[in-house]
């Protein structure tokens, strides 16, 4: 597993996509998109990402998801490369469902556990996983409890992913620092 984070507009997606493509021409590329196009701005962001991928000499199988990993990609071959983009929007989807559907806090833990299990399962199947996320923890706590819960869950999940990754990178304005 490979973990890649960075600030907004840091070049982390481009680095992640290039990394995935460099793994070889015979690989099956899966782009797992967790962004939900709930407004015009998000639609534009998604179109920009789609456009970037179309302009590459590679074929991406795009899989859209919100919280649960779709059944069709739960079992993959060792030739598969999964680019999971990204942990921050995935966790927002989890917390959004939790609030919108008044679920209990077990729901959040179960979602996180099932994502962790799937990442480990892909690893065991021999697939390569590239996980993208954002650096959002270097500021003062929010006055909103929901945001602070999000920060805590995200930080802990990042720690777990880094611990289970073979390589971990932080991207700052296209400059890449390999932490692991």
């Amino acid at each position: 597993m490979i973990f890649i984070t960075g600030g907004v507009r840091s070049g982390k997606s481009a680095f992640a996509e290039k990394y995935a493509r460099r793994l070889g021409e015979n690989k099956l590329l899966y782009y797992v998109a967790t962004g939900v196009s709930f407004d015009d701005e998000m639609k534009k962001r998604i179109v920009r990402h789609q456009w970037d991928r179309q302009n590459q000499n590679a074929t991406w199988n795009t899989v859209e998801m919100q919280v649960q990993i779709p059944l069709t990609i739960q079992q993959l071959s060792k030739d598969a490369v999964v680019l999971f983009e990204c942990v921050t929007t995935w966790l927002s989807n989890v917390l959004f469902n939790y609030e919108a559907e008044c679920k209990n806090s077990e729901y959040i833990n179960n979602c996180i556990e099932s994502l962790q299990k799937q990442l480990l399962a892909w690893h065991q199947q021999g697939a390569t996983i590239v996980v993208v996320s954002n650096e959002v923890l270097d500021e003062l706590p929010s006055r909103y409890n929901e945001v602070n819960l999000y920060r805590k869950l995200l930080g802990e999940l990042h720690q777990w992913i880094v611990q289970h990754s073979d390589e971990a990178y932080e991207v700052q304005y296209q400059l890449v620092q390999q932490w692991k």
């Binding site: 923890l137 003062l140 805590k152 930080g155 720690q159 880094v162």
Partner: protein
């Protein structure tokens, strides 16, 4: 003095605990959101100071430099008597807060962390559990 830097929920505390486990045993005292009382400190003690935001918060009516200097001096005096670990949560890389008090808090903590990093013999940044030594022996290494 050891300074441990990093964003919130990045594993700074766990790193300090791992580090301490490798050092000779000493009596450990934790100060969260308060400054150590100097008269209680002796050389056989190891001290962890954390939650600097809480320490700074009651003093925001005073100038940033003065507050940072006063807190720094207390910690430096403590450090002369005991082994001190400062856990500093980096809050300096977000959007400028709208509230004046939050801006002052962030600025004062930043000023204080500069002084602590200048004084400390070892400064380590922790990124999701991975340490990077920014100052001291083994500079640049994990």
């Amino acid at each position: 003095m050891f300074i441990i830097l990093g964003g919130a929920h990045n594993g700074k505390r766990a790193y300090v605990e791992d580090l301490i486990a490798q050092l000779p045993t000493k009596k450990l005292v934790k100060y969260e959101g308060i400054l150590p009382r100097i008269e209680e400190e002796t050389e056989d003690k190891r001290i962890i100071i954390s939650n600097f935001e809480q320490i700074v918060l009651p003093h925001l009516h005073q100038p940033e430099e003065l507050v940072a200097q006063q807190i720094f001096e207390r910690i430096a005096e403590t450090s002369a008597l005991a082994e001190v670990f400062c856990i500093c949560t980096d809050t300096s890389r977000g959007i400028v807060p709208l509230e004046k008090e939050a801006r002052q808090l962030r600025d004062t903590c930043g000023r204080l962390y500069q002084k602590l990093c200048n004084e400390g013999h070892t400064v380590v940044r922790v990124w999701y559990g991975i340490p990077q030594i920014l100052k001291g022996a083994h500079y640049g290494q994990n």
